[in-house]
């Protein structure tokens, strides 16, 4: 096996395109090294992206935030402006594993791992985040909800690499929230999760809503109906009930070692309403 640590995105793209055999990108390594340990993969080449400068930082830009692919989730938690603007995204990122994992894991890696249960992904979808993909043919922007195509599969083509994740600028009276169910209080993979991003107009009326669910389908899913239900009114018991219903109805979960179909379907609705309440109050709405 070969370990390579390029210092430029372009070099990483070149190495990725020309390397033969099993080639894997290494960001935080909290998924990759586990798969190596289990013998599920035996890479011929590992390309470590952590020494690529532009991937190491969180930048506040005119259009929002740019989170480099090598930025650890702990770095996100320490970034005050990001935390203020996107509390839901940051809390989702900070829920991935322990403090030890936080020191390594990245949202870009979480996205590329393409697990339906990835914590940061529903929050990124609800936040309308975009992955900036560099490849041999240049740059393309992929909305996060279109990034994963199946469990463990992404839209990335040979030689392509996620350079950063872009989050939009936070509008006034806009806030997000992320909640998940895990059997313990820490260290678990989400059994079901929900992210809600709400924008309020005058008098607490919701003007836009994005709701996404995790671990209830082959990929994290956006629930477009949620916008129709929540838009145009304050957050009411009736709208919350409808939100729970559409969320549960959108679930196509499986029975596995972490949860059952019934459990995931029911709790998806419960968590969506709880996250909606949280986002609503964060955005300045009064319940």
């Amino acid at each position: 096996m070969q370990y390579l640590a390029p210092e430029k995105t372009a070099d990483a793209v070149k190495l990725l395109a020309k390397s033969k055999g099993q080639v894997h990108l290494l960001a935080g390594g909290s998924d990759l090294l586990v798969r190596m340990k289990g013998g599920y993969i035996e890479p011929d080449v590992i390309i470590d992206i952590k020494r690529i400068k532009p991937m190491q930082d969180i930048k506040k830009t005119a259009t929002g935030f740019n989170i480099g692919a090598a930025v650890s989730c702990a770095q996100m938690g320490d970034h005050k402006a990001l935390r203020r603007a996107w509390p839901g995204v940051v809390e989702a990122a900070n829920l991935i594993g322990s403090d030890q994992i936080q020191g390594r894991c990245t949202v870009a890696g979480n996205l590329c791992n393409a697990s339906p249960a990835a914590d940061s992904v529903p929050a990124l979808i609800a936040a309308k985040a975009v992955a900036i993909v560099k490849g041999p043919k240049g740059t393309r922007r992929v909305p996060v909800e279109n990034f994963a195509t199946a469990p463990g599969k992404t839209c990335l083509k040979k030689g392509e690499i996620v350079e950063s994740i872009q989050l939009p600028k936070r509008a006034a009276k806009m806030a997000d929230a992320y909640l998940r169910f895990i059997p313990r209080t820490e260290m678990d993979i989400a059994v079901v999760s929900a992210a809600v991003n709400l924008t309020l107009g005058p008098r607490g009326v919701i003007t836009a809503a994005r709701v996404a669910l995790g671990a209830v389908a082959p990929t994290a899913i956006l629930i477009p109906e949620a916008n129709k239900i929540l838009k145009g009114d304050k957050l009411t018991e009736e709208s919350l009930e409808s939100l729970a219903e559409v969320c549960s109805a959108a679930c196509k979960p499986i029975n596995d070692k972490r949860g059952t179909i019934d459990f995931r379907t029911h709790v998806a609705g419960v968590l969506a309403t709880r996250a909606a309440r949280l986002a609503y109050t964060r955005a300045g709405g009064k319940l």
Partner: protein, 755 residues
Amino acid sequence: MGIDTPMKDRVFKSVGTRPTRPDGIDKVTGRARYGADFNMPGQLHGSILRSPHAHASIKSIDTTKAEKLKGVKAVVTSKDFKTKGITDPDLLDIIDNCMASKTAYYDGHAVAAVAAVDAKTARAALKLIKVVYKKLKHVTDVDEAMSPGAPLINKKCFTQGVEPAPTKASNIAVRSEFGHGNVSEGFQQADIVIKRTYKTGQSHQGYIEPHACVASISPDGSGEMWVCTQGHFVFRQQCAEILGLDAAKLRVTSSEIGGGFGGKTHLWLEPVALLLSRKANRPVKLVMSREDVFRASGPTSTTSIDVKMGVTKDGVITAAEAELRYASGPYAGAWASYGAMTSFACYDLKNVKTVGLDILVNRPKTTAYRAPSAPMAAFAVESMIDELADRIDMDAIDLRIKNAAKEGTRSSYGPVYGPIGIGATLDAAKKHPHMKAPLGPNQGRGMACGFWFNFGGQSCTDLNISPDGTATLTFGTIDVGGARASMSLVVAEELGIPYDKVKAVIADTGSLGHNEMTDGSRGTFASSMSAIRSCRLAIDDMRQRAATMWDIDLDDVTWENGHAHAGGSSGSNHAPLSIADIAARAHKTGGPIAGHAQIVADGAGVSFATHICDIEVDPDTGQTRVVRYTVIQDAGKAVHPTYVEGQFQGGAAQGIGWALNEEYIYGKDGRLENPGFLDYRIPVCSDLPMIDTQILEIPNPNHPYGIRGVGETSIVPPLAAIGNAVSNATHVRMTQVPMSAPRILSAIHANKDSD
């Protein structure tokens, strides 16, 4: 004071204090050496190939390619184990479990092993071994394994304990029965009779240190082994028998042990390491991965238990009956019998009958886990006691107090109890402020009792006095959590010298006589009994030396506070002699001063506990939170109370994990789906509250200091205590462990639907 003088209102100076443990600094600086922290010169790296199938006959194993790989020094399969002449069926099972012979009985069963110059080569060699399997039908569920048409795991399994012996093979390996009185008559006297079935998942000890050993055997049949184990003497004996070695020539050293809880009482890979070493004529290191630990060491039984109990309106339990079905893996065990013996041991019952059935399944070989088999039985029985109390509108603690066993009670498993602590723990629980604390919304309080036998057995100790008067105790049970501290306290107490003038050393098998395992909560009980005897022999020796030094009669020398005192007519002329004074002159009075003792420690003294817990349940998700937890247990005399508390807390935490989340999950293909700490979910720090403890000290009359074992009982009550708390919080009775959120939520929904 005679050698075996029992305790009588003794006032202790050292025992009962809380000094820092002597092995502590090594353990906080990274210096302590555990199983995998040791290497021998020229050592090879061993690796084991395991069956990917739940049940398969092994048609052939071709190791030629692996043997030819550069760097491979030895390859071993079951053919290398010479079982001719071995008749002990348990030992034959151990061998078959260490290396499958004809059949791979479970996902993870070892089928071949290699030793190579490094890990990479060993891994590559495993891939070159070609095993041809024929997959067989498998069964992992304990009830399914008993049902007609279930795949037969062992064609030669005829249920033991049944007269006349059955002629048809089945998966029921052993039947055991206990009890007295007449249960049918008892049930007729009852006003309320309840019958229920309870199920518990298979839990693992979950020690943080995986199994590891370094083995070295020379062509002359002598060898040594470094291993993390709960009993290096027993490991030596069994390994010597398996390999056809003289036990005396195999020197086994126990490493520091990174947790065991019963799981390190059994051989899993050590004979394989020895065999590889013998074949390669090089030392071999074998270390399990975490995945190996879950797949191929010995978890506890998954169980299915029927309980029937009857009670009168005024709270007298008139009869109790249980059938307990315990999965033992693919080999026979005695696990159900422990369940059958412990299930009703807390109560004074006129009519009681328990039947235990050990069931073969395609899961790893069951081994001991802290009070083995008792927690599952207690879950069933203690859940039912709460339900009975509810039906007769009596407080659950009062029903327990009313029926509690006491001195003179004939236990449900036979013996008549001496002084015991069940009543005392219940009284303490009733008075405990926890019982009266207010509960928040969605919270419920539960309680439960637990029992464990405690073991004694063979122990052997040496006490040596150094020329400067300091003392070394050499003992043979391992230090799993403070044993060196407690042994040092006992020696300091007995000799009358300060704690820090004692060094407690754990001997390798070449340095001391045979010692049984640190299991059955016997370590402190049995080794301290032997240590006290060693001290008393040394004191007798020192009295003799003082008599010589003073030139007076031995009978005129008394021993007090670590000093020899001259009595009789010449007493006033001689200042007392300290141990240091006597030791300094030892070369003139007969040489080194020592006391060697070997005992069979009888009378371990049974142990009881009562636990109280508060649980909050989220009614919309079924999520549970342990809000408050209290452990009350009879410890006999607590040698080092802080470590006694630690045992109480640790056992409770393990029980909480088992109750709420921990279980082996098998897929339809019979493969283990959660062989790791990610999905085998032991409690993390943020899952638990502080765990309050109350130590009751009811002296064990059979020990010179009144010591009882304390390590195991604390895992017995939590399953039921939590079940009862969940039931009180949700008005739903949980009959299956673990009480995971999906199970609780589905029970809540089913309850709503039936309303």
